[in-house]
Each structure stands twice: as C-alpha cells, then as structure tokens.
Symmetry: C2
Subunit: 465 residues, 2 copies
C-alpha cells in the first residue's frame, strides 16, 4: 500500500458520504454487516471495512472505483467471504464491494460449451441452472463460492486433475480496473495469440489488479457414465504411489482424493462410513460406460499393486453421492475431532513425484508438534490440505501451529512446489512469496504499481511489504 | 518504442563494439546472417538487425540486456525464424539474440510428466529424445519451431483440441527481463495460487516483456492406441457442423482438421492421395484400444449424419503417417496451386458455433476477391488458416490480398473471435488489436511500460503505435 492511500480521514469520510448518498440502502456502515464482510472463517483477525456497498452492475463498480480513486480509499471485492487466507479483510479500512447481488446468469451457450455469468453467481447456482441442458461447470472448491471469487483466487478442487483449475476454465473476464475503466480481457474464442493474456493475469490476482464483475466459463458435458470407489492402503506412501502411477499411466481420472488415517477416523464418526482406519483414496471416473469400466479396472490393478484393499467401484448415484458428501464434509468431520477448536485450513502443492515424501514428512511434523491435524488432498495434482485444529486461547498452541504452517510452506517450496495450490495468498501466505518467487517478485510488484498506482485495490494482499 | 530508444547512432555503435569484443565469433554483422535473422518466410519486408549474437546461456542473455539497457539498443529474440507475422523483424535495428545454440534438454522427469529445456530446443528434437521413454510433447504448430519461440507466440496446432496450447502446457519459464534480472516465473507444481501468473503473461508476449531462455513443459504419455481417418463432406458447412457436434458430444478427439475443396485438390496433386474433390475432415483419436475404437465409431455416426462419406479409420502406423504427412505438407501442396507465388499464411479463430458461418463467408470473400487461397483448419478449436497465394510484383493483387486479410480479421472479431488463434500478432496483426481489445489495450500498454520502460524488447511488435 502506498503512502498516498493513507490520506486524511476527512477525505475518506467525504468519499463515504458521496457513496452513501449514491447507493442509499445498498450502502451500509452497520457494525455487524462490516464484521461479516471481513474474515470470519478462521483464526485470522476480523478486520472490517469502513462500509459495505451491495452493487448490482459493472457500471456501479466503475462509479465506486472513480470515487475511491479521487479520495484514495481502499476497495475490497467480496463474493461469499469463503476465502481462507484473509482475502476479504480490510487492514487499511476502506469499502467492501459486495458482488453477491450481481447473480445473473447472462448467457449459456451449449453449442460453444461456455456461459457468461455475473461475478456473484455461485457454482451451485450455476450447476443447478445447467443441469437440464446436460452441462456442468466442473470446478468445485468445496465451498459454494462465487464464480468471481473463484476466478480471483484461481480456485480449483477435487475435479481439477481432469478438468483443470480456474486458470484453464475462464474464457474471459469483465473487470473494472483501478482507473475506473471497464475491460473485457479476451474474446470468446477458445484460443488466441492476440496480445498479453490479461485473463490469466487477473485470474488469481485476488482483487489487487482489478475487480472482476463478469466471467465467461468453459463448460463440460455431464458424462454419460460416472463410477466412484474407495480403496484402503497400508500407508500414506502406498496411497501416494498408487496416485502417481495412476497419473503416469494416463488414466483420465476425474477425482483422486487422499484421506489420511486421522481424517478417515473423523469421517467415520461424522458420516458413519465404517471404513477401516488407514489412509484411503476416494476416486471417480467420468466417460462412456465402457471407458469408465476400463478406467476403474486399471485403477484397481494399480491400487492392488500398492497393497490397496477393499476396492470396489460403483456407478449407483446414491452410493457415489454418499461417498462424495463424506469427502465434502471433511471440514466439518475434522471439527468433530476437537469440538470447539478453531480450524486452520491450509494447502500446499508439489510435483507429484515428491508427494509421498512431502505428505510423509508433514505427518511426522504434525506428530512431533503435537497438533491435531488431519490431511485430505487432491493428490492427482500433488495438492494436499492440512486442517489444523487449535485452541485459539492457547498462545503456545498458536505458536506451534504457526511454526508448523511455516515449515509446511517451506517444505513444499523446497520440493519445487508452491506454498498454495488453490487457497491463494491473501494475508496468510504473503510471507512465503519471497522464498517461492525470488526475483520474480519484482515484475509482480511492477505490474501492481502500473495497474493500481494508488494501491487502492485490496491493499495488504498477495505482495509482501 | 519510446523516443529514448532512438538515441544517437554513436551510442548504438558503442554497444555493438562492446558486444563484438565480448562474443567474438558468436557476434556477426554479416549482411547475409542479418538478413536470415529477419523475416524470410513470406511477403512481409525483411528488416534486418544491426547484428546477431549466438548465445549459449541465460547469463549471456542477461549480459546482453544490460549492455542494451545502458545504450538503448533494441533486442529481438530469435529461435528458428519460422514466425509468420514478422516477429523477428528489426524495424528499429538492434541486435538479434539467436537462442538456437541453447539447445540442451536440461531434464526429463517421467515421474512428473514434465521436462525442462533450453529455449532453442526444437519440438522434433525434444520428441526424438522422449520417444524411448514412452512420452511426447503434444504441441505441433507444423514448423519445427523452437520451444522458446513456441512459448513466446503461444503456439498450438493440430493437437490443441485435446492437449491444449502452449498456454496450457508451459509449467514455468526462465526469462531475462528488460532490467537484466533473471526470473523463474513459477515452481514446478502443477497448479498454484501463489501470486500473479507470470508464466501465462510471458507466454504469447512475443519477446516484448522478457527473453525466454528456458521452458518447463508438461508431457503426455504416448497413447496406447491411435486411430486416424479421413471423411469427405458435401460442403464446408457439413464438415463444420460435424465438428461442432463431435466437440459437443464430448468425444476426446485428438485432431480434427478441415481441408476445403481447393486444399484437397492441392494435396491430391502434391501427395497423391486420390481423395474426392470435396471438403474433408482428417481426424485422429488417442487412448486405449477400446476407447479409440469407441471414439472412431461415434465420430463415424456423427459424420454420416452430415453426409460424410467414405469414412474409414485405421490404426496402422504407415497409413496414419501418410495421412498426417499430407496434412503437414499442406503449405507446400498449396504452393503447387500457383508455382512461383508468394504465400501469405494467416489465421483466425471464432467460437465453434460461428465456425461454419465464418469459413463459409471467408470462402465467398475469396471467390469474390478473385484470390487463390485454400483453407485448412484446426476446426475443433474454431481455428482456421487461409493460405493466400499472390504475385508480389502485382500491386493490385497485393491490395486485394490486404483487403481480404483485413476483412478476415474483422469478420472473426465480429463473431466474438480473435484475429489470430495461434500465429501471433507480430507486425502483421497489430492494426487489429484496438478493434479486438478496445479498453483492454490500456492495461497491456501499462504492463509493457512497467516491465520494459525503455522499450528495448522487440519494439514494433504486438501493441499498435
């Protein structure tokens, strides 16, 4: 954040008055609304904005940006507030731009397998809308996040191993830039070599380069057949190695999720699955009926060669749903391991050849630190999550957790990986970017300064001070 | 290009003297070498640099950049010189940085399905190296281009419909930035949400934001089975509509190429294929033996429903090779339509729902303009190429061709497409960027100014004046 953004409070007050008059009941300074528009999902501080505006159009966002520029007021885009790294916090105050009322599905084009939605449309809303047309949007980060927020954080999730992440599935974006201009980042063509890839630059920029107001997304056809299964492994190493071989074998697996022993225990308790208490892979295959059967059989052979047991696949929707509901509920299941504790959900991602080693070392680290922290992972991408359950009233535990989180990020980076595969940087991971990117931080800073010279867009996020 | 880059000739001469002394026999001012390092592939002017340096390491490139910065000398990265839009021309003089001697394959990691190569490694060199390991790099733009050049132009080609373009297949890049710093754009993790996507920003930046010296690429396993076939259609519309339905049906087709009637005539003459003189689709399927058979059968049904005839698929390698050799030789075959003529190879890309309409209108335009211009296309992506054969001594023909090219770009943009799906902007398409991007040109310019304030990196490319 530049010094200029810290102008006199009186100036900020003037901006708020202008916007209050302009937006009427859609402008709020209420304490509870402000609190809800800062981080509420984990142990990180709740840093509320000065005000919240519920916008209904791209043009309104542009209006707000112009006022914010004139008065040097920070703007923090808000979708559903489910970001895990303090993305929506307002450490310098400012205005939360709530896009949840921009929830129109602008166009669905089955013939092009794409759609255009306003930024506040959530992925469930979109998928409910699409179902009748035999289409779906495959990116599933767990939470029912807004698609604008998912683009802004470069979200992915369980299906990414087959369908890619938001990086791969955004065709173009409409965004309001820090000068108040409205851009569309690209055409609707599937590929283009016409100039700099502003789409990919904004995807993952967490509201620090522009405010995304509309998203055009690739869609997929609902597969003719789906098959799912669970498989128990003697160890995390075996489960990881079975994953590696599955990917190397070119099986187009749609989901392959690791749950470590502790997470299986939690899930058994929460969802009554009755699985043996060892590491498991949850898998899913998409394709034609014949292809799904072939994939499942090949995976079964690979799993067996690593001691995988009890593997059965099913195409019955109710069994698949129960299984994936249990996986989706892992967050809540984990909370059951320590009722009343606060959850820190963190993630890391490494080249798949280092996955077994990284997960193995992480579990040893957890044991040594004495934390309660189950692991789930989108292991087909080398991506895994640790849910650290802590008592936030216990300073020693917080210190222990912080030490663990730092070691995890450094371990992943040291294995040619990244400190975050899908959660984003926000406030929580800023401190690791220097280690991960080194000299590449300089062009990132230069781009930020060029596109947001006043530093009004989501200050205090991504780039370290 | 900023005015500052047009400093006194004496200053540029000083820089050349410094670099001549430093690089000895790897520095050349020879007229023929300079000519070869500017555009030689089509009708566009040959605008040679002042000198050529054959570099052997990233550090040498950084040294050159530092001298170029100090003396405001333009630098033009050079791979194989196969770019089609004047990418390697030196309209303001300067130094061609020839990366062809940086041709080491640094690492192949079968366990991660990736590899790291120096920028001068060509795709054939890489694929020959990989073959024994059961792996391949799927992006195939036709020419045996360097992988650094392919990254710089966001190349794609026949396989992109299944495997994606360079945008999707570059894991990270090493690049020398305009301040002489060396960055690596990302880790080797398959996905990351840690900061701005510099990889995708440099992919397609055509040497205007940094000089790519090393590339880490995703690899694919050589499929267990491949099957290919040709299918004749009554009209281009039928061929395009069969393509659209194939994509919508979710068939994971590996290649689907349109050749219009004129191109079939040329290919018959050149390669002796003996195909009926109507539009054709050339297709290829990759997967397991069973999956390939299933895909081919499904495609056959779709093709038949659009009047497709004579469709036969084959898994025999020699037949597949003959077919795809004919497709690859389309450029040379087209030349046979008008011996002695110069070829303008251009491309455009539209949402697939607009493909039939766009190709149809383009063929009508060609007929009306009186040009000889066959069409081939990677139609699964909505991308097609027109090869305009002209007599460059005939001013009227040049004017007619220019008019056609402008209408083609505008037509594609008007159909929510792009003026170039894979060739890049270079010098040739700069004039259409304003129409295609509108207000989004401003952030592109801001990024260029931020990362290359002196404008020394490949000036006169991509961004219009």
């Amino acid at each position: 954040m530049t010094v200029s953004a810290l102008r006199m409070e009186s100036d900020r007050a003037a901006a708020l008055d202008i916007l209050a008059a302009r937006f009427g009941s859609r402008f709020s300074r209420g304490a509870e609304i402000r609190r809800q528009h800062a981080n509420t999902v984990n142990w990180m501080a709740n840093q509320p904005p000065d005000a919240v505006i519920f916008v209904t159009s791209t043009e309104e966002v542009a209006e707000i940006v112009r006022v914010a520029v004139a008065h040097h007021v920070p703007l923090i885009p808000f979708g559903t507030g489910t970001g895990l790294e303090g993305h929506v916090n307002a450490p310098f105050g400012g205005i939360s731009v709530d896009l949840s009322q921009m929830n129109r599905i602008v166009a669905v084009r089955p013939e092009d397998l794409d759609c255009t939605v306003e930024a506040g449309v959530t992925r469930r809303q979109l998928n409910e809308h699409l179902r009748d047309q035999g289409l779906f949007f495959p990116i599933d980060p767990g939470a029912d996040a807004s698609l604008g927020g998912m683009a802004a954080t470069r979200a992915s999730g369980t299906n990414a191993v087959r369908y890619g992440t938001m990086r791969d599935n955004v065709v173009n974006l409409t965004a309001v830039m820090a000068d108040g201009s409205v851009i569309r980042t690209a055409s609707r063509a599937r590929k283009s070599s016409a100039g700099y890839d502003l789409t990919r630059l904004l995807v993952g920029s967490e509201g620090t380069l522009g405010i995304i107001t509309e998203v055009t997304l690739r869609l997929a056809g609902i597969p003719e057949a789906m098959s799912a299964g669970v498989c128990a492994f003697p160890s995390v190493d075996d489960a990881c190695n079975a994953t590696i071989l599955t990917i190397q074998s070119g099986i187009p697996i749609a989901r392959i999720e690791l749950l470590d022993t502790l997470m299986i225990r939690a899930t058994n308790a929460f969802a009554g699955l009755g699985l043996p208490e060892t590491p498991h892979l949850f898998v899913e295959f998409h394709g034609s009926a014949a292809s799904v059967e072939e994939q499942a059989a090949l995976f079964g052979e690979i799993a067996a060669s690593f001691g995988g047991g009890g593997y059965q696949s099913t195409t019955r929707p109710e069994e698949r749903t129960k299984l994936w509901q249990a996986r989706h509920d892992a967050y809540f299941a984990a909370r059951g391991l320590r009722p009343g504790a606060q959850v820190i959900a963190t993630d890391a991602c490494v080249p798949i050849s280092r996955l077994a080693e990284c997960v193995h070392e992480t579990i040893a680290d957890i044991a040594e630190t004495g934390l309660i922290a189950p692991i789930v992972g989108h292991v087909g991408d080398g991506n895994f999550h640790v849910q650290v359950m802590i008592d936030t009233d216990n300073a020693e535990e917080i210190r222990a957790a912080e030490g663990f989180l730092a070691r995890l990020s450094k371990r992943a980076i040291g294995m040619e990986g990244t400190c975050t595969g899908e959660h984003g940087v926000g406030q929580g991971k800023r401190r690791y970017l220097e280690l991960e990117h080194g000299p590449a931080l300089a062009p990132m800073r230069a781009i930020k300064a060029a596109l947001d010279p006043l530093g009004i867009l989501n200050p205090g996020k991504i780039l370290p001070d």
